[in-house]
Amino acid sequence: MIVMEQYLTQYIDPYYVRIAVLLGINIVLALGLNLITGVTGQLSMGHAGFMSIGAYTAAIMSIHAGTSFGISLLGGALMAAAFGFLIGVPTLRLEGDYLAMVTIGFAEIVRVVFLNLDIAGRAIGLSGIPSETGFLNVWLVAVLVIFLNTRLLKSRTGRALYAIREDEIAAQASGINTTFYKIFAFVIGSFLGGLAGGFYAHYMTYINPQDFGFMKSIELLNMVVLGGMGSIPGTILGSVVLTLAPEMLRMVAEYRLLFYGGLLVLMMIFRPNGLLGDVRWYDIRKRLARNGVKSYGTA
């Protein structure tokens, strides 16, 4: 694997490799958020908070405990999942939009804590994290996450999650323990956030609390909303567009945020299900088949 990695970096422009790595990390992040917000319909606005918990935990493990990369990643992801559980249990049993506010608040608290924590390097941040993340290991995990996510959403569990988004009361009447499944989605989503955070830390080799601010959470939310809430291809498309667009357009940060804000409003008004949110293979095939018959008839 190391040989292949070297081979890659030798023959491909490092700039492209860098974008590909960041894209892989973003896909894992966005799929985690998609599970919470897109599939289950619970608005989480602090996904960057879980990412930072994963990033710091993994980095601290690598630096201070000298654990191997895999163990550090797992530790970061589990820590993020544990915090997801702690936040999810009191909040998700309530109805309504409290989760959005609690998650923003939580991410802010996390940021403030890291700013004040000696072991996290306070405001200076944490440097000297071993450089372990590469194209291959990120994409190996990303593909695995995409694969497992697809399976999950097609299963009994996945149907239960979609049902909660669509109508919570009807879901309960069908025997679904909605609180359990909401917490479940939240914990898995946080786990993926933490996992991606660990990759990020071991790619950048330097992290700082400002990397995981509110705007990072909003960027991730935009990936899910743009591509299509609840749709895996949609979320991947959203991640690709929002990872590449700033690179290609070289937009000034402020304009980018203005664009993000306007995009959210416009999407909600004109295409609340995102670009691919309610597009299914079934419908495409049906349309193709119909067109096929038509053209055959006229020929």
Binding site: L148, R151, L152, S155, R156, T157, G158, R159, A160, Y162, A163, E166, D167, I169, A170, A171, Q172, A173, S174, G175, I176, N177, T178, F184, G230, N273, D278, Y282
Partner: protein
């Protein structure tokens, strides 16, 4: 024996008494009708039975067991299925998936099983698929199984709700105004469907405004008015009950 017993149940909403000491016994395998003017408390009673509300006073017993303090998902797991007056489908899910969700309570594949997708969960998924198709065929929606639920016509949506509720193999099925908004032909199909459900030895509790439907399918009927039960009996005696005629049926009957 009584399958469902409502014992002295009262429900208050901020000082308003929506139900006032209501008693009701539904027997095994009968079709029981619940009628009354708007705001009489019929839907409130349904929400009480299915655990969405907790009664202010009184008890709800299902097969002799108190269920008034159980959460909704546990009540449905005991075998109580329901439909909703203002249709509550999973709109952006396929018709087939709607029914599959309905079978959630009677299946058990978990997270790890579905990730591996072999062995038990795979067999179970196949069973779910077959059963869901059967139920859709029964309510006449098999050909529409891949459509989004929201794209169905009104009467079809009501039938899909019934199919979804049947998914959990209910012992007791609560139908909340299943004929609302249906035309005559659809109503006839509905009456047939309810008869078919009864043939599956499922007990049915039915709230309905359409007298024709109620009188046709129900064996016993209770009448609610302002949260109180004012009459109970077979269709013939209800039709001739003075108080019922006065408060509800009016001159039109």
């Amino acid at each position: 024996m009584e399958l469902l017993e409502i014992r002295n149940v009262s429900q208050e909403f901020g000082g308003l008494r929506a139900l006032d000491s209501v008693n009701l016994q539904v027997r095994q395998e009968e079709i029981f009708g619940l009628i009354g003017p708007n705001g009489a408390g019929k839907t409130t009673l349904f929400n009480l039975i299915t655990g969405i509300y907790k009664p202010t006073e009184g008890q709800v017993l299902f097969r002799g067991r108190n269920i008034e303090n159980l959460p909704p998902h546990q009540i449905s797991r005991l075998g109580i299925g329901r439909t909703f007056q203002n249709i509550r489908l999973f709109r952006k899910m396929s018709v087939l998936d709607n029914v599959k969700v309905g079978m959630h309570a009677v299946t058990r594949a978990g997270f790890w099983g579905t990730l591996r997708e072999w062995g038990y969960s795979r067999k179970e998924e196949k069973k779910i698929d077959e059963r869901a198709r059967e139920l859709l065929a029964m309510v006449g929606l098999y050909d529409k199984r891949m459509e989004y639920a929201e794209s169905l016509a009104y009467g079809e949506q009501r039938r899909l709700e019934v199919a979804r509720a049947l998914g959990l193999n209910p012992v007791l099925l609560l139908l909340d105004e299943p004929a609302a908004g249906m035309n005559t032909r659809e109503k006839e199909e509905l009456i047939e469907l309810v008869a078919g459900i009864r043939g599956m030895s499922i007990t049915v509790l039915l709230v309905e405004h359409d007298m024709n439907v109620v009188m046709n399918v129900c064996e016993r009927i209770a009448v609610l008015d302002y949260g109180r039960k004012i009459a109970e009996g077979d269709p013939y005696s209800i039709r001739n009950d003075e108080r019922v005629i006065q408060s509800y049926l009016g001159v039109g009957m």
